[in-house]
């Protein structure tokens, strides 16, 4: 798929066209708590999309660093729903196979969703176990905390399984991006 | 109701706010359905009940009245007088056998070109959904 098509797909999503209001002021990038980790902030991401550099935008790690703290949304002078756009970009990059391999959050989300599929609920330990297989270093770093938690009876490995877990596991995959109804 | 039903809609507007908004919609090239026929008056306060009834009896499928927002009337409170009168006319319109939904009053300020476009589009949609008036059929017979 060429970049023009990807741009059209993005603009047709629920909030896609809102980036046309962006005045490139950088409030979002400066408000982001993890901005130091990003190669470029949300502002630049929007500029890339407007320029049609869709592959670069979708391969960007920026959306995966988003912690959904809504600080940028609270401050954006153009009321751009930055967080929703980050969600949208994550789903789009997944759909088009452009998820950045270097980033660890896709694996964490995957581990999280696996726990939900198998039990209906999650436990921190279980998510860590799933995730730890892929990223043993991160898991190792957390071991000392885990021991402390264990000592205080705060660690349970298996969450209680719920009846609805099968229903959750069978849910059909939805469309990755919601289109603008108008 | 047929798909190609193109209603004729009389839009009575005041010169100061809604007519200006219509002009603004024009200069901003904001397209809306061609079913709209605007009649310019100086104030919505001069709209007589008989204008509205005549419009319906002559075959209008809808009558839209657009005036200034409350507090913005060029003639102090003509728009509010109109509002009062039109809620009364609604009942008469109904007695004549027309759906009162065919009569709509909205405030559209001089700077609200996009609102004018939106109101026109929505009103035409809603009239299309209602279909032609029964009186029209009678007249053709």
């Amino acid at each position: 798929m060429d970049e023009k098509n990807l741009q059209d797909i993005f603009y047709d999503t629920v909030y896609g066209r809102k980036i046309l209001k962006c005045i490139q002021c950088g409030t979002c990038s400066a408000s982001c708590p993890l901005t130091g980790l990003m190669e470029h902030g949300p502002r630049e991401l929007f500029a890339l999309i407007r320029d049609g550099d869709m592959e670069k935008a979708l391969r960007s790690e920026t959306p995966w660093y988003c912690v959904s703290c809504y600080q940028c949304v609270a401050r954006c002078p153009q009321e751009i729903p930055v967080i929703d756009l980050m969600y949208c970009l994550k789903r789009m990059s997944k759909e088009h196979g452009l998820v950045p391999g270097s980033h660890k959050m896709p694996d964490l989300y995957q581990a999280f969703s696996q726990a939900v599929y198998s039990h209906g609920r999650i436990s921190e330990a279980m998510v860590m176990a799933h995730y730890g297989i892929l990223h043993p270093v991160d898991a190792f770093k957390n071991i000392s905390v885990a021991l402390q938690l264990l000592k205080r009876k705060r660690l349970e490995f298996f969450p209680r399984q719920i009846i609805g877990r099968r229903w959750i596991a069978q849910l059909p995959a939805g469309e990755k991006v919601r289109k603008d109804i108008q | 109701m047929t798909d190609d039903f193109e209603p004729k809609i009389i839009v009575l507007v005041c010169n100061w706010c809604t007519y200006t908004a219509a002009d603004l919609a024009g200069t901003s090239r904001l397209a809306y359905p061609a079913n709209i026929r605007i009649i310019r008056l100086m104030c919505t306060g001069m709209i007589d009940s008989k204008y509205i009834l005549k419009a319906f009896l002559d075959g209008a499928d809808g009558v839209f009245i657009g005036g200034c927002h409350p507090g913005d009337c060029h003639y102090i409170n003509g728009n509010l007088k109109a509002k009062k009168r039109i809620s009364g006319i609604r009942k008469i319109v109904e007695q004549f056998g027309f759906d009162p939904k065919r009569l709509r009053l909205r405030w559209i300020g001089a700077s609200e070109g996009p609102e004018f476009q939106q109101n026109m589009t929505e009103f035409v949609e809603s009239i299309k959904a209602l279909g032609p008036t029964s009186v029209k059929d009678r007249m053709i017979l």
């Binding site: 902030g41 009321e79 | 003509g78």
Partner: protein, 664 residues
């Protein structure tokens, strides 16, 4: 008048390609030619051009047309042009009707066929209507030779001076104790860095001393009635509690007043004033006022009277009452100015929470020789700042507050930067979204400031916080922004932050707009008659705008507009007369039952009851033609000329019946 059979000429305009690209003009012409009473139908590229008008002129004279329809743009654009053409050719200008096939058809309709059909309908409606038009004559009324100026800032002062210079009487009304407005608070003005006081004070004195200007400070306009050339205004003179005729302006009362801890409005609450006060040393008039909410006698009913005791002139008069003044003027100039945006709602900038965050007006005072620090730029702890951040676009370009650009902030921010560099050895960091410097010598000033070593960072500040990166920096402020050019998020440690707040309409400007009958736009600015071609006139004849009440403006633009408003007002006055409205109500005495319903609905008191004839009568000088009486009249005696029931209903019928005849 002998009735003549209508003989109508219809002219369809191409408006270049504006109409012709959508509407099939030829078929509209053909259609119009077949309509009742139409003697001739023609088309032309630009009807408003002089050959276009000549065409109408010729037809009227040669073919004996007695009515004209032009189908072109909005009547708001060219109705007057064509009416004048008709009049010139010898027919009454009211024998004209316009069909708006540009704004209402070609520009808003996608399908050319639909646009053409709609254009035909609109032409048919105009033809049907014009056949029932009646000739109307207006009357000349003398114009009052005086002008009311509302607002005594630089705009109002300049308007008053210019108008007074041409010999007319000017009433200048200012609600504060002194004229001068915002400009009196400034120290230097961009881009030339003239001292504001040096160019301002002489003007204030000139206003005060001008023989043609009656200065009414501490006063408000309560009501305005009437119409162009003949306005009646009621002015409230709030009690000063100091007799202006006796006061010598010595200032002893202010030295002695015991109520001292009142925040000074003029100094942006950075200093205090007394209950009897003059806002600033150069105030005009010099007569102080007593603040009735703070005075021990007036507010708290205590025994004090210190000012009275020390006033040698015996000017203190605590018994003074509000006075009302009735004046008659021919024109009104509104110059109510602006208000600085209050940045408190933008909590991420910490205004009100962190003492070293200032608004731009506060900084103006801090930097002013007559301000709290006598012009030294000092922090609250008495020390000079080592590093200062200036944040642009606070409240402006922000859809949650003020979506527009306030136009002056970039320039005054750079002025601040220059003054900081000149007066202190502080590092100055400016955070901007875009630098807007479109004015004579403005870009040059921008360059100069850059060369002076001011750091300009392109990025809107996200936050001002008191959480530093390093433990030892607690107590200082950190400014967080992305430098969008280097793509780095910056955390900059500073001592002082200046918020370059935007401009918004002055408090009460909506009330003033309502008073004079003009509208305000979505942001609250007063609406001019035409954005480009009539920037100081308003839709209400005789009411003109000057300065920031119409939109954010810098001083040069304000002064220019003030002079323009004065020019418009004086040209109206010098003409001497105005014509009365023609499109107004009439009451048919033969039908009037004398029920007086119309008197109750008339918002202008323009209808009187003639008890002798037992009928209501319209005053043609007061009637605005709103038609309230026409609708309310139970006997059908009242109507609006040029908007008669017959005319409106013929127009409507043509639109609706047309379809049956031609389309089906």
């Amino acid at each position: 008048m002998k009735y003549k059979k209508p003989k109508i000429g219809v002219y369809i305009c191409h408006c270049g390609m504006n109409i012709a690209s959508k509407v099939d003009v030829e078929s509209v012409v053909e259609f119009a030619g077949k309509l009742d009473h139409v003697a001739v139908a023609r088309e032309y590229k630009f009807m408003c051009s002089s050959p276009g008008q000549q065409m109408i002129d010729n037809d009227i004279k040669k073919l004996g047309l007695n009515r004209v329809v032009v189908a072109s743009c909005s009547p708001r654009m060219h109705e007057l042009t064509f009416k004048k053409a008709c009049e010139k050719a010898g027919i009454n200008p009211h024998y004209f009707q316009m069909a708006n096939i540009r704004e209402q058809s070609s520009w808003v309709t996608r399908d050319p066929e639909e646009a053409t059909a709609k254009a035909k309908d609109l032409v048919a409606a105009a033809v049907a209507r014009v056949a029932f038009h009646r000739p109307l004559q207006s009357r000349e009324v003398a114009v009052k030779k005086s002008i009311l100026v509302i607002g005594g800032g630089i705009a109002g002062m300049q308007s008053a001076l210019s108008a007074a210079e041409s010999g007319y009487r000017v009433y200048l009304v200012e609600r504060e104790p002194s004229i001068g407005g915002h400009m009196a608070k400034f120290d230097k003005t961009f881009p030339t860095l003239d001292c504001a006081a040096c160019i301002m004070t002489p003007k204030m004195v000139a206003v005060d001393q001008h023989e043609n200007i009656e200065l009414l400070t501490y006063s408000e306009v309560v009501s305005i009635e009437g119409f162009i050339g003949n306005f009646k205004a009621k002015i409230l003179k709030k009690p000063r509690y100091v007799n202006e005729d006796k006061c010598t302006g010595c200032g002893v009362c202010m030295e002695k007043c015991p109520a001292r801890k009142i925040p000074s409005e003029f100094n942006e609450r950075l200093t205090t004033r007394t209950a009897i006060y003059s806002p600033f040393p150069q105030a005009v008039p010099r007569t102080p006022v007593i603040d009735p909410e703070q005075c021990r006698v007036l507010a708290k009913n205590k025994r004090c009277g210190v000012c009275r005791k020390f006033c040698e002139a015996g000017a203190i008069d605590l018994e003074q009452k509000p006075r009302y003044l009735d004046i008659e003027v021919g024109a009104v100039i509104v110059a109510t100015g602006f208000k600085a945006f209050d940045p408190t709602p933008l909590t991420n900038y910490g205004y009100g929470r962190f003492p070293e965050v200032y608004t731009s007006l506060e900084f103006e005072r801090l930097n002013n020789a007559t301000g709290p620090t006598s012009g030294k730029i000092l922090m609250k702890n008495g020390q000079a700042p080592k590093k200062v951040a200036i944040i642009h676009c606070v409240g402006s370009r922000d859809v949650r507050y003020r979506k527009y650009c306030s136009r002056v902030c970039c320039m005054y921010s750079m002025k601040f930067a220059h003054l900081l560099r000149e007066k202190t050895d502080a590092e100055v960091w400016e955070f901007y979204i875009d630098i807007r410097s479109p004015g004579k010598l403005y870009e040059e000033f921008y360059n100069r400031v850059q060369e002076e070593g001011v750091h300009l960072v392109r990025g809107r500040v996200a936050e001002v916080t008191d959480i530093p990166d390093n433990q030892e920096d607690f107590g200082r402020l950190t400014v967080i922004a992305e430098n969008t050019l280097t793509r780095q998020a910056k955390r900059l440690l500073v001592d002082m932050v200046i918020l370059s707040v935007g401009l918004e309409p002055a408090e009460g400007s909506k009330d003033v707009a309502r008073l004079v009958g003009i509208s305000t736009d979505g942001d609250g600015w007063m609406t001019e008659l035409h954005a480009k071609l009539a920037p100081v006139a308003t839709p209400v004849g005789g009411i003109f705008l000057a300065g920031c009440c119409q939109g954010p403006k810098d001083i040069p633009d304000t002064v220019a507009q003030a002079m323009a408003a004065a020019g418009e007002a004086t040209s109206l006055l010098s003409k001497g007369t105005v014509s009365t409205k023609t499109e107004i109500s009439y009451i048919d005495p033969d039908l009037c039952a004398g029920c007086q319903t119309c008197l109750q609905v008339c918002a202008y008191s323009a209808i009187q009851f003639d008890a002798g004839r037992c009928v209501s009568v319209v005053n043609d000088a007061l009637c605005q033609g709103c038609g309230s009486c026409s609708v309310a009249c139970p006997s059908g005696a009242a109507g609006v000329k040029h908007f008669t029931d017959k005319q409106v209903m013929e127009e409507m019928e043509a639109i609706l019946i047309q379809e049956c005849i031609y389309d089906r």
